[in-house]
């Protein structure tokens, strides 16, 4: 579920950090910039893997800091299509089952991709798999905190960079803040044998 991404960036080191080793300062700056952030169409950045190349550092007039072009590799969370992952159920809503991996929260399993037939229990706000055997129907609840195995079927990146001031007239101060969209979401599916709560498939 993790990939290595090669990137190039210019890192600015302020003068008061010149006594430190350049590699350490650059590593710290890159981690400060990218760790726990989503890069559009790339994934959720975890931490720096290594620095492959450091080009010459320049000091520009008017700014005492040094600017260095760095080629580096970063560890990024980006599961490939159809990958199997194990997560915890965060909660259920009419939109589907929300799953979390601890470090990544925006995973949704829509109702069509649940084990069929499934129904939403309004009273307990939980999705239920109505499993039928010869004896009758068993209701298997998808409770919060349960571990769930799912397949990644789709991903979507949303560009959350701020828009310009052109819409300033439309939004007045009395309006609510616009809904925050997750920059990176995964869509999962559990409609195959072996997928779903781990407790459904363990042979006891």
């Amino acid at each position: 579920m993790f990939v290595l991404v090669e990137m190039v960036d210019t890192v600015r080191i302020p003068p008061w950090q010149f006594e430190r080793k350049l590699n350490d300062s650059i590593a710290e700056e890159l981690n400060k910039k990218l760790a726990n952030k989503v890069v559009y169409n790339v994934g959720l950045c975890i931490c720096l893997f290594d620095i492959t190349k450091l080009e010459d550092a320049y000091v520009f007039p008017g700014d005492g800091a040094s600017h260095t072009k760095v080629h580096f590799r970063y560890v990024v969370f980006h599961p490939f299509l159809d990958e199997i992952l194990i997560g915890k159920i965060k909660g259920c809503s009419p939109e589907g089952v929300h799953v979390s991996l601890g470090f990544f929260d925006d995973i949704l399993i829509p109702p069509e991709s649940l084990q069929q037939p499934a129904k939403f229990d309004e009273a307990e706000q939980v999705w239920v798999w109505e499993y039928e055997t010869e004896e009758g129907a068993h209701d298997l609840y998808m409770d919060t905190g349960e571990e769930i195995r799912f397949r990644v079927v789709d991903e979507s990146f949303v560009d959350t960079s701020p828009t310009g001031p052109s819409s300033a007239e439309a939004t007045s101060s009395s309006e609510e803040l616009p809904k925050k969209e997750a920059p990176y979401t995964l869509v999962g599916s559990i409609s195959e044998p072996g997928l779903g709560l781990l407790s459904w498939w363990t042979s006891s």
């Binding site: 190039v8 400060k32 931490c47 195995r149």
Partner: protein
Amino acid sequence: MEVKDANSALLSNYEVFQLLTDLKEQRKESGKNKHNSGQQNLNTITYETLKYISKTPCRHQSPEIVREFLTAMKSHKLTKAEKLQLLNHRPMTAVEIQLMVEESEERLTEEQIEALLHTVTSILPAGPEAEQKKNMDDVTMDEEDPA
């Protein structure tokens, strides 16, 4: 910032686990004076990712085990992605193998699936929950004897 290659290599969970553990050791050694608010994101993501991976079987792997696993896998003719999934999840049942290996009914016979399961469970060490379950099974067996 420019992305030169968004997919230059796949990393196994064990590699990420080792990297994050080393990073944590390094930062602990360098002292607490550098823990300014700028490093909070790195702390959060490192902690959460380490917590997640520690609950998987990858925790007990080592470079030799991974190498041994990959050499053993050569004969089964699986794709890189399939081998990576087997390494990360350590499946114990045929159903899990069918999920991770594409078109497993056509590519693998039942004996091959059994052989694959055997290779996986014998080379890769079990996760913390499996060891706990094993201990619990031993305990319940003792309780059943008097009955």
